[in-house]
């Protein structure tokens, strides 16, 4: 649902001022502490930055792709870490639910993701499945009205602070798209372990780590869209949308 021009321009102006007055002055602090300050995160939530791409019906701003891109472009004028903390909620951490979630799953998680109360992460990559995502090995075995997850995910953005993981796991052995399903797993579910945050060359303040599933039992209701085998397709759709992430670096360059 697109905003009318005046309202949208007001939003852009507000974000622009926010970046200039509130984010840029805190960049050094982010590098030194490798974290985003709590008060900044609160202000981002108040501005609705966590819900750019979630519909108004579910508590978000419901921006079109073009509008979302233009807002993200503004966020790009400062450290990528600021965008990253809201980035997974705007993008890969929420869109699998937006694209393929059941009405119940949408009602349960989207409002909290939109407000930023819940941080979402997207768990696809594994140590042996990078560019070749189809090679993923995390399994989800059906057991009565539960699934049991086993496997390791790597370099998962925002995992150290996430409340919800969209996990791509294998429900069939054949190397085919419809062997992979997506599960909405809440943090704190027994059987989830987090690795230490990765030490990286740059992007200080943007946190990634391993997410390890050891006989992690999730209810059948966690299966995205209540349908096995849509995980890979959904993941690819989510990533296509998420390619707009590169735009923030276009706006980053003029300030160099």
């Amino acid at each position: 649902m697109a905003l009318d021009t005046d309202t949208f321009n007001l939003l852009l102006e507000t974000v622009r001022r926010f970046v200039l007055e509130r984010l840029i002055p805190r960049e050094v602090e982010v590098v030194e502490t490798n974290a985003i300050p709590d008060d900044v995160v609160r202000e981002m939530k108040d501005l609705g930055l966590f819900g750019l791409s979630i519909s108004e019906q579910h508590g978000g701003l419901g921006l079109t792709m073009e509008e979302e891109v233009r807002v993200v472009f503004e966020l790009g004028r400062t450290s990528p870490a600021f965008r990253s903390v809201a980035g997974t909620n705007i993008g890969i951490g929420s869109q699998s639910i937006v694209i393929a979630g059941t009405p119940d799953q949408k009602a349960k998680y989207l409002p909290a993701l939109a407000s930023g109360e819940l941080i979402g992460s997207f768990a696809l990559t594994e140590p042996d499945a990078g560019s070749d995502a189809m090679a993923l090995r995390t399994t989800a075995r059906k057991d009565g009205d539960h699934y049991i997850l086993n496997g390791t995910k790597r370099y998962i953005t925002n995992a150290p602070i996430a409340g919800l993981f969209s996990v791509m796991a294998r429900t069939a052995p054949e190397r085919k798209a419809n062997s992979i399903s997506c599960f909405l797993v809440e943090a704190g579910t027994p059987g989830i372990k987090l690795g230490l945050p990765d030490k990286k060359m740059g992007q200080r303040g943007a946190l990634t780590c391993d997410v390890i599933f050891e006989d992690c039992r999730v209810p059948a209701a966690a299966l995205l869209g209540n349908e096995e085998g849509n995980g890979f397709r959904t993941a690819m759709q989510v990533l296509d949308k998420g390619a707009s992430i590169s735009l923030r670096f276009v706006s980053a360059s003029p300030t160099a």
């Binding site: 560019s131 070749d132 990286k200 060359m201």
Partner: protein
Amino acid sequence: MKSLEHFDQSRNWTAEETLVIEQVTRIAADVLAPNAGGLDERKEFPWVNFKVLKEVGLNGIFVPEEYGGSPVSYRCLLEVVRLISEACASTGIIFGTTGAVAKPIQEFGTKLQKERFLPLIANGGLGAFAITEPHAGSDGSSIRTRFQPDGGDIVINGGKIFITTGDVADVVLVFGKWSELEDSSKAVSVVILEKGTPGFDVVRLESKMGANASSTAELAFTNCRIPRANLLGNPGDGMKIMVAVLNKSRPSVAAQALGIASGAFNDAVAYANERQQGGKRIIGHQAIAFMLADLAIELLSTRTLLDHVGRLVDEGVQDVSVEASMIKVKASDLAMRMTTDAVQVFGGHGYVKGHRVERLMREAKVTQIWEGTNQIQKHVISRDLMTR
């Protein structure tokens, strides 16, 4: 890797040079490479490495025999710098800089100066070059540090920035303007300043993108008094000395950059042969294979060019300024390209700390900047192309 094997076999080292290179190769593998990551992480000066280099007397390659050295050909010196730098870029630049300090003392020094400072370096002393000032980088002749003659002394006032090893060097070659000469490039002169001289202070050390084990110091001179006997050459000889130094130090800096590139290349090839995606080793995917092929061509051509420059110097060619600039540009641009592509080959694993390519990429950038930015190098090269 046939092309590099053939190249190594073609170098025709003497028996002595072969021994030196074998020894350096062993030290690089056993000591320098294992220490490199930790020293960079802790921003710690590599004393642990220089202790070993001192024990084997490696600084001797910079000094003539009569002053306690064991010199090798310039080609061999460049190979030593490259091997050290491949294992630890910070150690490489500190080592190379010391060599660059020994050369002008050898070429322009009085007998007394040579007797005093060359054995010090041969025995493991470290050197630093102090030219750059806040407003005088590429424009070296606009330095403001003053040398005031005063009886049998010279009094130094001024400051320097970005001085590699400036905080701990035993011998610092300081460039400044002789107060009694007209303030222009004609006044630039050079003095030899020893560590611990009163009035010579280390103001601070920089925090850098990379080469973090190499200290980069801001220096201050406040009525710093040194004997007139520490003047190198005559008042006003500074620019002549600077040019002579750069002709020998630029290829050395190129060798250091080439070391970084060599390390990154080896790592990328090894990883591409090991990492599997899509059912095969990633070197079996054309996108990666052709990237590595391009880099292999660049690496061999750059090593060949460095060998050529070294050979010219060994054959006694006086003015190698154009070639020195060329190899500096080529090797440093290759280091940046190679390390960037190596991180790309490693994917996510190349961005996180763990594999050394992350550190190599951070180290490569400065090689395009120091010792004369690549823009200044191209100024030298293109000036040579201009007809009168």
